[in-house]
């Protein structure tokens, strides 16, 4: 693999030039997964037949002289909560351990349409609820920078798959930071696009007003390539944005950041962030200033409400979205008792108690409480107000700034078992990523350094609603002038 190109952009270019053979790429990747993944645990299963068949067709078309799509030969992993026809889609849950998808998610269909090669589904926290991939009902996923380090989550499998070169791009989903945070902890680049930019049809829902399909790759350039292919309106998703993003061409327009107004909100760049992390991100901000960026000190006072607002809204929507797993129509149905001897509500209760893990049950209870009669005004409705206030503050900041910067995660990857047992303390870990989720704005995480013991540290860039190109452009320029994203783990 060392002589082969490893970015999606380079692979696709080599494929189109006839320098690579898709079947060879797929074989090599499947072999690499087979040799490395038993220890890493990034993939739940691989789509050997699907990937090979698509590769064979791609090679035939190449031989026939047909023009190939922008993702030709790019091997892509997809998170276990995205549907791929005839493959299992479990969202990390025992509830869906045998659920086989009858159709392919729009966001993945588009990748195959552009000649990308889906290779397998990656492990995740159950229904996206977690920040370490430990709530998966199936397997442990390890950070390639240290086998005793958590990979982050919930898209931990996708982050590890890219970090360990098991695929060129991995698709994730980001509700409160689930793409950006594992990207940060595993030293790869991750994008949460503007809400609605990439269709959600075929994404197993966690919190619908926050869920975004995102991606992880080695470079911002690859993410731009992905976004151009995956974005655009979908009649099956009423919340999808009408216009596709066309961002790849923007990347060639700049090699510096002259005149780009960079906001550094105080609330996201100080309190609660580890010193080592802060030192690295401040150095990155300084480098961005050296590249021509105008750095502006600014405030986002509502950020302090972001975590409580996020957890109230996300859990209320989750309690609603997960109500469909009732043991009646599909998914886990209890075998404990004779169904003819009990009422349907007993079957539902028992099936859910068996099928859902502890974190999911906790969040369903929280969300049910926050939205229940007599409490909803106090919790759910207030959280909506806080969300709107935050959206307004962001809108005001983006009148003065093109991009906002902060660390992605307040810490580098912790060790397994390190993180707090207290869920509220754990939820504060998301403080830097949830503001962009609540605002629906695009946000990207890119490597910007490492701790003394070699754990990756990342910088987060956020831009105005709909301006995904701004964060990609900034990250691309940064990566043209730095090496952080090139650092690979020793495997």
């Amino acid at each position: 693999m060392s002589t082969s190109p490893t970015t999606a952009t380079a692979i696709a270019k080599a494929m189109r030039n006839g320098d690579l053979c898709a079947v060879d790429i797929v074989q090599a990747q499947l072999q690499r997964i087979a040799s490395l993944d038993p220890e890493l645990g990034a993939f739940c299963s691989t789509f050997d037949d699907r990937a090979t068949a698509n590769a064979v067709r791609l090679d035939e078309r190449q031989k026939a002289g047909e023009s190939l799509g922008p993702l030709a030969g790019v091997v892509i992993g997809s998170k276990d909560n995205l549907l791929v026809e005839n493959e299992l889609a479990s969202a990390g849950s025992r509830m869906l351990s045998t659920f086989r998808a009858p159709f392919t998610a729009t966001s993945l269909q588009r990748l195959e349409l552009h000649d990308g090669l889906l290779i397998g589904r990656t492990n995740m926290d159950e229904f996206g609820m977690g920040s370490t991939t430990e709530t998966s009902a199936f397997q442990k996923t390890r950070n390639p920078f240290g086998k005793d380090l958590v990979p982050g989550g919930s898209s931990g499998g996708s982050a590890v798959a890219v970090a360990a070169d098991l695929c060129a791009i991995a698709i994730g989903s980001d509700t409160g930071g689930s793409v950006r945070q594992p990207a940060a902890l595993c030293g790869v680049t991750g994008l949460k696009p503007t809400y609605g930019r990439v269709p959600r049809y075929g994404l197993i829902a966690y919190a619908s007003s926050l869920d975004c399909v995102g991606a992880l790759a080695r470079t911002a350039e690859d993410l731009a390539l992905w976004l151009d292919c995956a974005s655009g309106q979908d009649p099956a998703d009423a919340t999808s944005l009408p216009t596709p993003a066309t961002v790849s061409h923007m990347l060639a327009e700049r090699s510096d950041l002259k005149g780009v107004r960079i906001g550094v909100p105080r609330e996201l760049n100080g309190e609660g962030v580890d010193d080592e992390v802060l030192t690295a991100t401040q150095a990155a901000v300084a480098q961005i200033r050296d590249l021509g960026g105008e750095v502006i000190d600014c405030a986002l006072p509502s950020a302090k409400h972001a975590v409580p607002a996020y957890y109230l809204l996300a859990t209320a929507e989750a309690a609603s979205n997960l109500a469909r797993y009732d043991g009646v129509h599909y998914g886990n149905r209890t075998e404990q008792t004779d169904p003819s001897q009990q009422s349907s509500i007993d079957t539902t209760t028992q099936s859910r108690s068996e099928g859902f893990g502890a974190e999911v049950q906790l969040r369903i209870l929280l969300g049910t409480f926050a939205s229940s009669y007599g409490y909803s005004a106090q919790f759910y409705e207030r959280a909506r107000l806080a969300r709107r206030a935050l959206q307004r503050e962001f809108a005001q900041l983006f009148e003065r700034c093109d991009v906002l910067l902060s660390p992605t995660s307040p810490t580098a990857a912790p060790h397994f078992g390190d993180h707090e047992e207290d869920p509220l303390a754990r939820y504060m870990w998301d403080a830097l990523t949830v503001p962009a989720s609540l605002a629906g704005i695009p946000a990207l995480s890119m490597p910007c350094g490492q701790t003394a013991d070699g754990r990756p540290i990342a910088l987060q860039a956020m831009a105005k609603h709909g301006h995904d190109g701004h964060v990609l452009q900034l990250a691309h320029v940064f990566q043209m002038h730095s090496q952080h994203h090139l650092r690979r783990p020793q495997l």
Binding site: D237, A238, A316, S320, D326, H329, S340, T348, S376
Partner: protein
Amino acid sequence: MTGYTTVIGLEVHVQLGTNSKLFSPAPVAALGDPNTRVHHVDIGLPGVLPRPNRRAIELATRAALALGSEIQLYSEFARKHYFYPDLPKGYQISQFDLPLALGGSVVIGEGRSCRLHRLHVEEDAGKLTHTAIGTLVDLNRAGVALAEIVSEPDIREPKEAHTFLHRLREVIRFAGVSDCDMELGSMRCDANISLMPIGSDTYGTKVELKNLNSMKMVHRALEYEVRRQTAVLAAGGKVIAETRGWHDELGESRSMRSKETAPDYRYLPDPDLPPIVLDEAFVTAQREQIGELPEDRRNRYRQTHCLSDQDVTALAQDRDIGDWFELLVAAGADAKPACNWLIEELLPALRERKLKLLQSPISATGLAELLTLLKDKTLTQKTSRLVFAHLLETNVSAKQAIKDLGLGKIDDPASLQPLVDAAIAEMPQAARAVAAGTDRAIDALKGLVMRKTRGRADPGLLDSLLRTTIAANS
């Protein structure tokens, strides 16, 4: 007698006449094997999202406008949560604090009308069948578009509730929104009923009645409930806030569940669906699609055609019936006989053949021709019915039918005279009695000729020929 005022409010579900479901492309069909009209969205599979049906919003808007409701230019879909096997997502997509329309009214009697509280759009649930081996779920109906119309508690007696439903159905049908067939389930009704002492302005404890599957059942169930609650109160008891199911075969309602255990639906704005934002142009366009409403039509028929209340009510019960009536009149028929024949002959005959009016084998011009022939006495009442029956079967013109049936009227003296002579010869006493001045004896002779000619003899000519012949013989 009772000392109580009855207070009734209705909640009516009307199935919107869309081709596909409210949030999925699955076809809407009354028939079909279980679970064959079902899309991934209707099962609530993981990863699916609702896609709103524009047509449903159009039809619901028309219904609301036809009922005089005020369209809300900004409304929202909300999720109503409860667990039940016929509800695959664990929530029903409905509308909560921001419904599509507010207000409106329905006439429930002379000078009486019932105000409407609101109209909102929602999806239907599936259907459960309980069998010996377990409960079966059919999701064909799940996701079908409904409008729920909620009345204010302005109805004061069961009969008014019955009228409310009739009038509501009429308006909804006229607006082209739904066929509103209670037996087929495209219109469903729940009723809230309570009693309060006469003169009081504080409502009593209300009971919700369900399983009201026809207009008759609504009427019967409400009458039963008035009696039941009256008896409870008269005995010094208290009415319990509860939901009761109507058992028509038993003629009684039974408690289904108490209101204290009513679920918390945890309404949430549906994050998968953007708000419904309408503009005045949309509302105007829907208003233009509605056309004449039944009350306007009744007034017009009263004034233009001098028809009775009963006639105009019958004609305006359905847009197609009125339209057909107007075709008859346009083809030259007089209003009164046109109304009678349409309501009393054609509609029952079509019902018997399970045909809709628009599928009638007799065209409006065909029936108008028959009525003209009846008017100019080419046909008698009796022969006209034979021609009518023939037209239903054969689809020929009325004149052709007369020929086919040999039903031409015998109105020339040369043809009729031999029959008159034969009748006198057969009933000489009657002829003598007429000659002697007992005039009514002539009816026996006429009857005889009519029987022999199967009613084809021209009555006027027959009368004069009988009299001149008898006079000449005596």
